[in-house]
């Protein structure tokens, strides 16, 4: 039998050795990534699933233990779960809808040729680059009753002193919507602008020759070209807005009186504040299931992924 010691320099290794080495190589290459996924994704998810069937509270370790589906049945009787779910739907619908409309309008505007277009694009996209916590800080200052906009309006005789949009249930919703829109619109504008620039100019010229107006050109040329970008951006933004915790947590804390508590924010409060990790895990599982079903339905309805 030929051994490696008998192989002269420059000669290829025997076939068996080459096969063994080549069959192990992919596993060796994939191992680091697989390990990271296992540690940072598979284990946490498995832990959440496990905890969802248990009573777990670090402040009351004496009550910890397996409780089966009790957390899930408690969710069905939990008024705050249902109200936070309803608010999540309202929040996602309002945010994504408004961001889509304004993002589309601004994307179309900055796609036109005009003096100062570069500066306009930079200004339009800059909120997207601002850190979430900084965004909140900016808006908290704007809404501050003693140093914010309501104070200056009261000085001018408009409205009253000592008021804030954040200090009423309806006001807090629109205050949060405005703050999130400021940060979210650029995302739509960027996605749409990128797609707009790939539309061949000859199509518009041919349409003009055929007598098509601006609106007709938009409906017949622009919209079909950017449809895919709109669908992807809407899906991504919908998922992000559903999972939004940072802005609402820091701007309103889910208040006043739970008026701006989304389902993920309720999960965060349950786990971080009341330390009910078992119930919080069950809420997480339910939120994941809801989001998964909505995403599948969205993809089905929009026929994304189908060959056109």
């Amino acid at each position: 039998m030929t051994t490696i010691n008998h192989i002269r320099e420059g000669q290829a290794p025997p076939l068996v050795a080459r096969r063994v080495r080549s069959s192990r190589a992919p596993y060796a290459l994939i191992f680091p990534a697989a390990l990271l996924v296992a540690v940072f994704l598979v284990y946490p998810v498995a832990k959440v699933v496990h905890s969802s069937f248990r009573q777990e509270n670090v402040l009351k370790p004496f009550d910890d233990g397996f409780i089966g589906l009790a957390n899930y049945s408690a969710i069905l009787r939990d008024d705050l779960f249902w109200s936070s779910l309803a608010f999540s739907a309202k929040w996602v619908g309002t945010e994504v809808g408004l961001q889509l409309v304004f993002g589309l309008c601004l994307g179309l505007i900055v796609n036109e040729a005009f003096r100062g277009r570069g500066l306009a694009r930079a200004l339009l996209f800059s909120p997207w680059a601002v850190a979430g916590i900084l965004t909140t800080t900016i808006w908290i200052l704007i809404y501050n009753p003693t140093t914010g906009i309501t104070r200056y309006l009261a000085d001018m005789g408009i409205g009253s002193y000592g008021t804030s949009l954040l200090s009423s249930s309806s006001g807090a919703f629109w205050a949060a919507v405005l703050a999130e829109m400021w940060k979210g619109i650029p995302f739509f504008a960027i996605m749409i602008l990128a797609d707009l620039q790939s539309v061949p100019g000859e199509l518009y010229e041919a349409a003009k020759v055929d007598g098509a107006g601006r609106i007709r050109r938009f409906w017949s040329i622009t919209l079909p070209h950017i449809k895919r970008a709109l669908l992807i951006a809407t899906l991504l933004r919908g998922i992000w807005e559903f999972n939004n915790v940072d802005l609402l947590l820091t701007l309103t804390g889910g208040g006043p009186a739970n008026a701006t508590t989304t389902l993920p924010l309720y999960v965060a409060q349950t786990a971080l504040e009341t330390k009910e990790f078992g119930y919080g895990s069950a809420l997480t599982m339910v939120a994941f299931l809801i989001l998964f079903i909505v995403c599948v339905l969205y993809l089905k309805l929009t026929k994304m992924g189908d060959d056109e």
Binding site: T163, S167, G254
Partner: protein, 453 residues
């Protein structure tokens, strides 16, 4: 469990004969009375090993002035202990507990942390803190510290051990703008009626001037319970039968009176006001009165000047003449998993001795736990401390007994009740409904606690 009525009090003024209740109820009174007692001297700190040890120190209420004071305190300690360095890490006051819990879960706790009695039971339940009883006794510190504060610190844990140094304590007071009172021809408030009258008199919504700032946002409970129970003359959350007092008629009436302040003599924005917002309003001149502990004195002085701000202790109740005084012990703790328990103890010992406690209490405006420091002139000269001590020394004054030993205390008073309180202020439910929910939550927590005993 058995209870007995305290002589000289009305039928509702019961002090439970339980390990946590009785001790806590007596604690602050004893602490005040012993503040004037003689004290021993601080012991010499022995030199440690030659090798330099680095301790990590977490501050749970990082603010500019406080951070500077703590860094000075650390510098003083390091000067006395050249073999130890302390690394200061500031945490925000509204989210420190989440970071602490994460550190406990991941075995990455620091060596030292600033601590208050109300947080102790949550950390003790997780086995996170190191008990200090033996070390305090071995160091001979027992005789140097306020007995009342030691008792309060012990009662807060729920297992009859000391986990935080009884370095300082706070009492809740009513801060008022003495300059505005003078301009309006109002004297020093001495009754609850004086308070409500002043709040009305000093409110002028047209100019953005409000008589009072109510805490509707995060941390509302300490102001709520610190005003409502004293108004009703009730000093405990539970009556002689172990039932929550929040549905008692005089407590409900007091809560209605307190909630009635919102949007009549306060700003509408107070619905979400937290500590920072309240202090900013008071310091900015848009609120003439504020309920808070004596710990915010440096902030008020910095904003308004010492001559324009005064403190008033809780007023005697119209119901039974009893003055109920709310307070809280604050100190420092070491984590059980500290790799340098002996060096961490050196720091804890330093902040209980005259030099460390003297600096920290004086600069922070707190009541000192060290009996020698309590004799110093600045304690008598500090208006908020003096008014608190004077009130506490009265015969009819009773400390407010908070059941910090309940594991659910923070969850109930924070997460569970905050939205309910905001619903109440907005008129979405009555005060009575809010009080009923409050009573149910505390009754459930107390029943579970009693069942485990």
């Amino acid at each position: 469990m058995t209870y007995e009525s305290r002589p000289g009090l009305t039928r509702r003024m019961h002090v439970p004969k339980r390990r946590t209740g009785a001790r806590l109820a007596a604690a602050l009174t004893v602490s005040v009375l012993t503040l004037t007692a003689c004290s021993g001297g601080a012991e010499e700190v022995e030199a440690g090993p030659a090798e330099v040890v680095e301790l990590t120190f977490w501050d749970t209420d990082a603010r500019t002035g406080r951070t500077e004071r703590l860094e000075t305190l650390i510098g003083m300690f390091e000067e006395e202990h050249p073999n130890i360095t302390v690394e200061y890490v500031g945490l925000p006051s509204d989210s420190y507990m989440q970071k602490v819990d994460t550190a406990i879960a991941t075995d990455s706790t620091p060596d030292l942390i600033t601590m208050k009695a109300s947080d102790i039971s949550a950390l003790v339940a997780q086995g996170a803190l190191a008990p200090l009883d033996d070390r305090i006794e071995e160091a001979g510190l027992t005789e140097l510290l306020s007995e009342g504060m030691v008792t309060s610190a012990r009662a807060a844990a729920g297992d009859d051990k000391i986990y935080l140094t009884p370095t300082t304590s706070l009492t809740d007071v009513l801060w008022y703008r003495s300059d505005l009172f003078e301009e309006a021809g109002l004297g020093t408030p001495t009754t609850w009626d004086d308070f409500f009258t002043a709040a009305e008199t000093l409110t002028d919504k047209e100019t953005g001037q409000f008589g009072y700032t109510i805490r509707g946002g995060a941390g509302f409970w300490s102001q709520f319970v610190g005003m409502v129970l004293p108004m009703a003359g009730v000093a405990s959350y539970f009556d002689e039968d172990g039932k929550a007092v929040f549905t008692q008629p005089e407590v409900v009436a007091a809560a209605e009176r307190y909630a009635g302040l919102y949007n009549t003599v306060t700003a509408q924005s107070d619905l979400t006001a937290d500590f920072k917002v309240m202090v900013a309003q008071f310091g900015g001149g848009s609120a003439a009165m504020l309920s808070h502990s004596i710990g915010s004195y440096p902030d008020h002085v910095a904003a308004l000047g010492e001559e324009n701000v005064m403190a008033a202790a809780a007023f005697p109740s119209d119901e039974n003449g009893v003055r109920v005084q709310a307070g809280l012990v604050l100190g420092f703790s070491a984590f059980e998993k500290s790799e340098h328990p002996d060096e961490a103890w050196e720091f804890l010992q330093y902040v209980m001795e005259a030099e460390g406690d003297g600096y920290w209490a004086k600069e922070s405006g707190y009541i000192p736990g060290n009996l020698e420091v309590a004799e110093q002139d600045w304690v008598k000269e500090s208006q908020p401390i003096a008014v608190s001590l004077e009130a506490m020394a009265e015969e009819d004054t009773v400390p407010l007994d908070h059941p910090y030993y309940l594991p659910e205390f923070s969850a109930i008073t924070g997460t569970e009740l905050l939205p309910e309180w905001q619903k109440t202020l907005q008129g979405e439910q009555t005060v009575e409904e809010f009080m009923q929910k409050t009573a149910v939550l505390f009754n459930e927590a107390r029943a579970a606690y009693d069942a485990r005993q």
